[in-house]
Symmetry: C2
Subunit: 456 residues, 2 copies
Amino acid sequence: MEYINKYVEENKDRFLEDLFGLIRIPSISSEKSHKEDMYKAAEYWKQTLLSAGADKAEVYETKGNPVTYGEKIIDPALPTVLVYAHMDVMPVDPVNLWKSPPFEPEIREGKIWARGADDDKGQSMMHAKAFELMVKTNTLPCNVKFMIEGEEEIGSPNLPAWCEANKEMLKADVILVSDTSMIAPDKPSITTGLRGLAYWQVEVTGPNRDLHSGLFGGTVANPINVLSKMIAQMTDENGRITIPGFYDDVLEVSAEERELLGRAPFNVDEYKKAIDVEELAGEKGFTTMEHTGIRPSFDVCGIWGGYTGEGAKTVLPSKAFAKISTRLVPDQDHEKIAVLFKEHFESIGPKSVKVEVTSLHGGPAYVCPIDIPAYQAAEKAYTDVYGKRPVPVRSGGSIPIISSFEKILGIKSVLMGFGLESDAIHSPNENYPLEQFYNGIKTIPLFYKYFAEMNK
Amino acid sequence: MEYINKYVEENKDRFLEDLFGLIRIPSISSEKSHKEDMYKAAEYWKQTLLSAGADKAEVYETKGNPVTYGEKIIDPALPTVLVYAHMDVMPVDPVNLWKSPPFEPEIREGKIWARGADDDKGQSMMHAKAFELMVKTNTLPCNVKFMIEGEEEIGSPNLPAWCEANKEMLKADVILVSDTSMIAPDKPSITTGLRGLAYWQVEVTGPNRDLHSGLFGGTVANPINVLSKMIAQMTDENGRITIPGFYDDVLEVSAEERELLGRAPFNVDEYKKAIDVEELAGEKGFTTMEHTGIRPSFDVCGIWGGYTGEGAKTVLPSKAFAKISTRLVPDQDHEKIAVLFKEHFESIGPKSVKVEVTSLHGGPAYVCPIDIPAYQAAEKAYTDVYGKRPVPVRSGGSIPIISSFEKILGIKSVLMGFGLESDAIHSPNENYPLEQFYNGIKTIPLFYKYFAEMNK
C-alpha cells in the first residue's frame, strides 16, 4: 500500500480542489433552471476523466440530462470494471438552515461541508482519483469504464434506455458504485442488499361534495374515517402486511445468514435516542436491523383531506387521499405487488365510498451475493485500509437503477460506500469527512488489485 | 287571516326593497375588512325596527361586532316574545361560481339570489315586517324584543357576555328564531332539536424529524399509520363510538317519539342519489333520520401529514394531524365529552409515538319540547298558512348560542325556520324563494296570536 499512501499524500490538496470545482456547479436535477449546470457538470467530468488518464471521454445526450462516459482499455483479456456514479444533487431548501452556502464548499472540523460533499460528488470523485493514481503509478490491473449520470436524484428516468442502447460499450465484469454508507470508520461495512419499492396514490370518495357535518354526520360515510379504517387494516397486530399473497415471494433468509447480519454492531438505545422515540415498532419475530434489511415494510408517506387550516371548521369532506409505499425484498416482484395492493385495497373499501388506486412508482430489490469474487475483493480492500473485516449489511433503502443494471446489462454491482450516517445527505449541512474521502481513494485501487488477481 | 294577506299584498314590493337594502351591505363577519359594514348593518336594523313601530332601538357595542336591540312594550302583563337573528353573513368565495353578484340581489325563477337571501337576512327581515304588520293593523298581542347580532357565522363569541350583562332587558317568555329550514313547502316541519358539538385537533409525533422511509421503514412507527389505526378504533363494527362513557348521558328517545319523528317524509333513494353514494353508513339499529337527529356522530373533518405534493416522494414523516369532531345529543355535556375523548385518544396511542389532543370548540345540544305553548302556537300558525300540520324534526346541525340562551336567560327557543335545503346557504348562489319569504311574514303574526291566546 506504500505507493498508494504516497500518491494520495502528495496530491491530496489537488484532489480536494478538483472535487470543489465539481461541487461549485449547482447541478440540481429536479430544478429545470439548473439544466445548463447539468451540462457544465458533464463537461467537468469529461475533463476529469481525460486528465486522469482515460483513452476517451464523451458527453452523451439523453432525453433528459446528459451522461458522461469514459474508458481506458488496456487489454481486452483483462477484467473490466464499470464505475457508476451520478453528478446531480438534491435541492438545498431550506437554504437558511445551512451554516455555509451549499455550493461553496468549506472545510470545518475535518469535514467538507456542501451539497454533494458525500452524495455523490465526494464519493464519485474518489473513483476518478483512484483511477488517476493507478494510471500514474502504472498499477492499473483492469480495464476501466465510467458511466456518470445526471438524473439519479429524480429516479434515473432515462438511464435504462441509454444502457439498452449502449450495451456493447458498457460490457464489464462488475459495476462499482460508491453511493451508500458504512456503519462507522471503526465499524466498516458493505451494503449487500437494497430493498425494492412500490408506491401508490389512493383516493377515497364519499359524497359528491363537501357536506355539513352536522346535517349529514353519522349517516353518510366520511371518506377520512373510511380511509383510516382501510389503512389500519393493512397491517395486523404482529406488524405483518395483510395483502393476500404479499409474502409469497419473500426470500426467507437462513438462520446462518441472519446470524451473520446480526453481527453488525448496533445499539438500540442510541438508535431510539437519536430519533427520540420511546419504543420501536415492526414485524414480530425480527430484529430492528432485520426489519429494515430483510423484511418488507408498509408506510403511508402522506395523507390529506378535508379542512386543514387554522381553528375548528366542521365539514364532512367529499374526498380523502394518501400516498402509500411498501419497501420490498428479494424475490418480491414490484409489478406483481403493485397489482396485489390495488386489488386488495379497492376490495376492502365499503360500498359507501368509491376507492381509486393509482400506481406511481416502483423498482425491484437488489442483493449482492457475498461469495462472488467482486464482493470478496472489496472485503479485502476495506480490511487493508480500515484494519477490520467489513460486515455485510442489508440496507432498507432503494436504488432502483442497480436492479436495472442487472436486468439490462447482466452485471452485478458492488456497493463500495464510504458515506456515514452523519453526512446529512439530502438535508441542509451535508458533509463528508476528509478521512473517508482519502480512505476511499486508497481502498479503490486495492479492490482493482484483488479483483484482477482473483480473475487471473 | 284576511288582514294579514291584505297587508302583505299591499306592501310586498316595499318589503323586498327593504330586504335588498340590507343585503347590499356586505356584512361578512369573518373578514376584518368588513368591520365598517357591520356597523352599517346594525344601523340599518335600528332604522328598520324604528320605522316598523319599535318604541326604541339602539346599537350596542360589544368586544366584537355590534348588537342591535329594539323593543315595543305594550303592556307588562302581556307575554313577551324575544326575536333573535343575525345580520352577519358568510364569505362569498369562490365568487366566480355566482351567477349574479352576491351583494346585488336579483329575482329569477321566483327566488331572491344573494348572499344572505335566506341566512339570515331574508329570514330575519320576515320578523321585522311581521312586527310592522301587527303594529300597523293594531293586532300586536304581545310585547316584542329584537336582538340582532353580528357574529353568528363566527360562533357568537361575544353574545353570551352581552346577554349576561343585559339579562333584565332581555326578559321574555319565548325566543323566536328563524335560522333553520323546513323539509319542503308541501311538507312543513319545525326543527325541535339541534345537536351539540365537541371538536379537537390531534397531533401524533413519531421520530423527531422526517426519516428516509427505506432506511427506517418497518421498524420506526410511522405517525400516519398510527393515527389511522387510532381513528379506526374510535368507531366499532356497529358504527358506535368507542370512547368509554361516551353514551352514558345520551337521552334514549322513546319508541313513541321515534315513531313520530319517523313520520317526516323521507326518500332514502333520492337522498343517496343527491350526494351520489351507493350506500349509507351509520349506527346499527337506527334510521338515517335518527342518525342525524337523535344520535351522536364521529367525523374526522380534516387530516394531514407527510408528503402531499405531486408524484412519489418517499418519507417516513415525523408528524400526522387530524381535526376531529363529534356531534352530541341531549343530555351529553360537551365539556365532559371533550375530556373523555382527550383521555381516551391519548391512552390508545402506542408507546412508539407521542399523542397530543387539543380541544378547539364545543357546545351543548338543544331540544325544544313539543308540548310547550310556544311550540304549539308555532304548529298552529304553520298549519294555517301551509295547510298541513308541520312535523317536528331533529336537525343534525348545531347553533350553540341557542343552548347559551337557555342557560343564561332561562328561556326556550322555538326554531320557526322557513329555509329550504335548496337555498344553498354558505355556498355560491344562495337563494330564497319569494313564496317562503311572504309565507314567513304571514305565519309569524299568527304565532303571536296563538301564543297570546294560550297565555291568557
